[in-house]
């Protein structure tokens, strides 16, 4: 039997071990599997490759994709990744570690999660954050569940029509099987309508509302009056937000939100075809016990040394079982480390620059696009890095032309608008080049 680099056993090892166990062959150890089910014959899998062949195989596949200059967002943003981050996250003590249940040998993991929780609280302004969630949309679904769990006997959650389509879709999926009723807050003039919210509150069955801080048209929402209206009806406000933008924008806490959720992919995580990203969830002190997911807390060991542990575990699925708010088991720990290192490197000044550069680039592109005469404004409301315009040319043709020239932008919205996004990675030259391409698009 030829050796395989991941199986250390020699023939002699196997013989000795079988002897110790008291059986004759490896198959004897599977004698308890009914003969019908023992797989016979070859598996329909490719031949085993050597490492070099694996490299060549993936290089071949990689070449069948095209990396474009990204001028779109819609839930995945092309922000700059500092070189330090992958260097740290690939350290094997972080990468190959298990969940920190044995805290005495997991202080590394526990400390960075505590830092992550602190940073999420800092950005959202809220009191408590968990150790991360799978992604933004599932965090929103968990916020929906948390609203219903906190409000006795109310079963409706409101979703703004301004949330991204994938956020709504995931929340709808979770709601369908939980039997939670969803209603939609309408947009008015491209913003989530407070009037629409108030009308929906009249049912008396609303446990909470999930509203974007920046909506899917890139517009920064003015959430004045939302928290008051919801609290007056005994409901909670959950804000779906971009943590990168929160370095400069009014925070969920300042808007009076009880819960904040979103995806921290904007904090330096590469696009990577959609994952792994990392969701976050934070809430006020009052709702701490209903917060799902893992939470790390500070403790003292028997010698009084500061240390960190997974705490408040009695909320979680492995203890509460069917009474848990959620079934979530793991978080996206390594991605939380990614984000923690990112924020440590960027600091307040770096985050301000990221936002200033994105703002400037986005507004430069916005003005240049309008100058081409091929777009019309849809709103005068303020935006940061993402915006929507009404195309006066065929949107599909526009997308194709852009793609062929190596750009990705002009994502279509349900209203028939197109959205663009500019981050600190995009330069004036790139924008000008894209504008030149767009100028050539026919009606």
């Amino acid at each position: 039997m030829p050796g395989f680099c991941y199986f250390p056993h020699t023939e002699e090892d196997i013989r000795e071990m079988l002897r110790k166990i008291g059986v004759d062959s490896l198959d004897d150890l599977n004698a308890d599997i009914p003969a019908d089910f023992v797989y016979k014959g070859e598996y329909d899998l490719p031949d085993a490759l050597s490492e070099q062949q694996v490299r060549e195989f993936f290089e071949g596949l990689a070449a069948k994709n095209t990396t474009l200059k990204v001028f779109a967002g819609a839930g995945a943003y092309d922000h700059y990744t500092p070189s330090v981050i992958p260097y740290i996250t690939s350290r094997s003590e972080f990468l190959t570690a298990y969940t920190p249940y044995q805290c005495e040998i997991s202080q590394g993991t526990l400390r960075y999660i505590f830092e992550f929780q602190s940073l999420v609280c800092s950005l959202t302004g809220l009191d408590v954050a968990n150790a991360s969630m799978y992604d933004g949309p599932t965090a929103a679904a968990e916020a929906m569940r948390m609203c219903v769990a906190s409000a006795r006997k109310k079963n409706t959650v409101l979703l703004s029509a301004g949330l991204l389509p994938n956020v709504r879709k995931v929340v709808e999926t979770y709601a369908k099987y939980s039997g939670i009723n969803l209603e939609y807050i309408a947009l008015k003039d491209c913003r989530t309508s407070l009037d629409s919210l108030k009308a929906l509150l009249e049912s008396g069955d609303v446990a909470g509302a999930i509203v974007p801080g920046i909506n899917r048209l890139g517009i920064i929402e003015d959430l004045s009056g939302f928290a008051d209206a919801l609290h007056g009806a005994g409901a909670l406000l959950a804000e779906y937000c971009d943590p990168s933008a929160l370095a400069v924008l009014k925070t969920p806490a300042e808007w009076g939100a009880d819960i904040a959720v979103g995806d921290a992919q904007t904090l330096g995580i590469p696009l990577c075809y959609g994952g792994p990203y990392v969701g976050f969830m934070a809430c006020t002190q009052a709702h701490m016990r209903k917060l799902p997911g893992r939470i790390v807390g500070e403790a003292r060991d028997s010698q009084g040394r500061r240390c960190f542990v997974l705490t408040l575990q009695a909320r979680e699925q492995h203890i509460r079982r069917e009474k848990a708010t959620s079934n979530i088991c793991s978080n996206q720990s390594l991605m939380a480390l990614w984000v923690t290192v990112y924020l440590s490197l960027m600091g307040p000044q770096g985050m301000k620059e990221v936002n200033d550069l994105s703002y400037a680039g986005a507004h430069y592109l916005y003005d240049r696009l309008l100058e081409t005469g091929k777009f019309r404004k849809v709103s005068d409301a303020p935006f940061l890095k993402e915006f929507a315009l009404e195309p006066l040319v065929d949107a599909k043709a526009l997308q194709n032309v852009l793609c062929e020239a190596g750009f990705f932008g002009a994502l279509l919205t349900e209203e028939g608008y197109v959205t663009f996004c500019v981050t600190e990675k995009r330069t004036k030259e790139e924008i000008d080049a894209m504008i030149d391409v767009i100028k050539e698009v026919r009606e």
């Binding site: 991941y6 166990i21 008291g22 308890d32 019908d36 598996y43 490719p46 085993a48 490759l49 694996v54 490299r55 993936f58 990689a62 994709n65 839930g75 700059y80 330090v84 003590e93 298990y98 969940t99 920190p100 044995q102 005495e104 202080q107 400390r111 505590f114 408590v128 150790a131 992604d135 999926t173 369908k176 099987y177 939980s178 920064i220 003015d222 009014k250 990577c272 075809y273 959609g274 792994p276 990392v278 500070e298 003292r300 060991d301 240390c307 699925q317 079934n327 979530i328 088991c329 978080n331 996206q332 390594l334 600091g347 307040p348 000044q349 770096g350 680039g361 430069y364 600190e424 004036k428």
Partner: protein
């Protein structure tokens, strides 16, 4: 491991920075965001230099134990070796810059990877269609249960609100069922640790959506009656869901799809060698039999298309394994588990003697050193003492059936030398307990910290930096 007590905030000094961004000029852009939309209170973010960041996180990492450090006999976690070629592939820039919504014509390679993964996992598991959207095992489980519910809803059969779960099941099973709007009904296990078919029969009826099982079960035992169980559940109109956490011993040996399971999830971060990352990211693809194909493709339970970076790693692993090596994977995992079991049953209580698969359960020490005056050493104490010897502890206090449960799963990537050394240490610890359990009860002695006061931590939670100020 060395105790290092800093938090990044404590290294912060005003004016330091660790980033590097270009200057940009965008002529003609004036104006700024209106003041009423800006935050009033600035964010508490650390100001540190790049070298501070590197030293801080490097020091943190040195207080951590990973598979690369040593042996992790964690039952039901399958802490096998994480191949480094996987990391190289996942880090290829050509994959990193792809936006999930960019035009399909620019993503031929990505499509091929998903198709190839689906084909490979189908071959390995006997299921037909897969979704890769779930980001973790519990997430896959939830998706699988949604599929079960959707199947019955489409048939107009709204009475099926119950799902049967063995009493040995992991906590995620009932939690996932609850999130999915299903009620749990528990089926008992027999003395031999297997599902009691006679107890199952009366539970089946027109209100049962299906059964959730893992095979081998959480005691590491193959459910020999699975053919009969599948027939009974199907006859009653229900579906069978397979929790793939324990798939490892079946790699190359047997297939859940052949046993009658209709839906299953896999843990790529267990069976398929992708790294645990300290608690994620993982990936929990869900596979189904043919008739559920439409449903599995239709459920959107995550942001985009799942954790692509993790899927890449798993596929690299499958290519290295190939059809030649997969046949040994499960068998060697089972060999390793039985070897440890037979070698340690003289010192640890073995409640179930029969041959195990990839893992097995001990129920504490045979001689825990307890007397009239002092308590004996518990499973927790054994676990903490193992840390002193450079091992991660096994899974403890699960399954709930055994009060001093210790679940050991070595995986196939551990050598005989590693297992022998572990067995020696476990014997040593047992001897220590018999002599003086205090050594174990005060363990770990050699870790960066000793056991924390978790009760105090839970009573007065400090969950973020500078929370201390608020606690007084």
């Amino acid at each position: 491991m060395k105790y290092y007590d800093k938090l990044i905030f404590e290294l912060s000094r005003k004016g330091r920075c660790g980033y590097s961004l270009p200057e940009q000029q965008f002529p003609g852009v004036t104006g700024a965001l209106p003041a009423e939309l800006l935050r009033e209170k600035p964010a508490l973010l650390p100001e540190v230099s790049e070298v501070d960041v590197v030293r801080h996180y490097t020091n943190l990492s040195q207080m951590n134990f990973g598979v690369d450090t040593g042996f992790y006999p964690l039952g039901s976690c399958t802490m096998k070796y994480n191949p480094k070629i996987n990391e190289e592939i996942a880090a290829m820039p050509a994959f990193g810059g792809l936006h999930p919504l960019q035009p399909e014509c620019t993503l031929e390679g990505v499509k091929e990877i998903y198709d190839a993964m689906e084909k490979s996992l189908a071959a390995i598991t006997g299921m037909k269609h897969f979704t890769f959207k779930p980001c973790a095992g519990a997430h896959g489980e939830l998706t699988g249960l949604m599929i079960m519910r959707e199947y019955h809803m489409r048939r107009g059969d709204t009475a099926r609100v119950k799902v049967i779960v063995p009493d040995s099941a992991h906590g995620t099973n009932p939690a996932s069922a609850a999130v999915c709007g299903l009620q749990i009904v528990v089926v008992k296990s027999k003395e031999d640790g297997l599902v009691d078919v006679e107890d199952l029969k009366p539970l089946l009826g027109p209100d049962v959506a299906g059964i959730m099982m893992t095979n081998p079960n959480t005691l590491g035992l193959f459910e020999r009656d699975i053919k009969q169980i599948a027939a009974l559940v199907h006859e009653a109109g229900g579906l069978l869901y397979y929790d793939g956490a324990n798939m490892n011993p079946l790699l190359g040996v047997a297939r859940p799809g052949d046993m009658g399971f209709d839906i299953m999830h896999l843990n790529l971060h267990k069976t398929f060698s992708t790294p645990h990352g300290g608690g994620g990211p993982g990936s929990g693809p869900v596979g189904v039999c043919d008739k559920l194909g439409d449903i599995v493709k239709s459920l959107q339970t995550s942001a985009f298309n799942g954790n692509f970076g993790v899927i890449l790693r798993a596929y690299a692993y499958i290519l290295m394994l190939g059809r030649q090596n997969i046949k040994m994977a499960g068998k060697l995992a089972t060999l390793n588990a039985n070897y440890i079991k037979e070698s340690l049953k003289d010192a640890y209580k073995l409640p179930i003697e029969s041959v195990c698969k990839h893992e097995f359960v001990f129920d504490g020490l045979i001689n825990d050193g307890g007397t009239e005056e002092k308590h004996g050493a518990t499973t927790l104490d054994v676990a903490k003492r193992l840390l002193d010897y450079g091992y991660h502890a096994p899974t403890i206090y699960f399954p709930l059936l055994f009060h001093q449960a210790m679940m050991i799963e070595p995986t196939e990537t551990e050598s005989k030398e590693t297992l022998d050394a572990f067995i020696d240490v476990m014997h040593k610890i047992a001897a220590e307990a018999a002599e003086d359990p205090a050594i174990l009860q005060e363990a770990p002695h050699n870790a960066p910290i000793t056991r924390p006061d978790e009760t105090a931590a839970a009573r007065k939670p400090i969950l973020k930096y500078q929370d201390e100020a608020l606690q007084s």
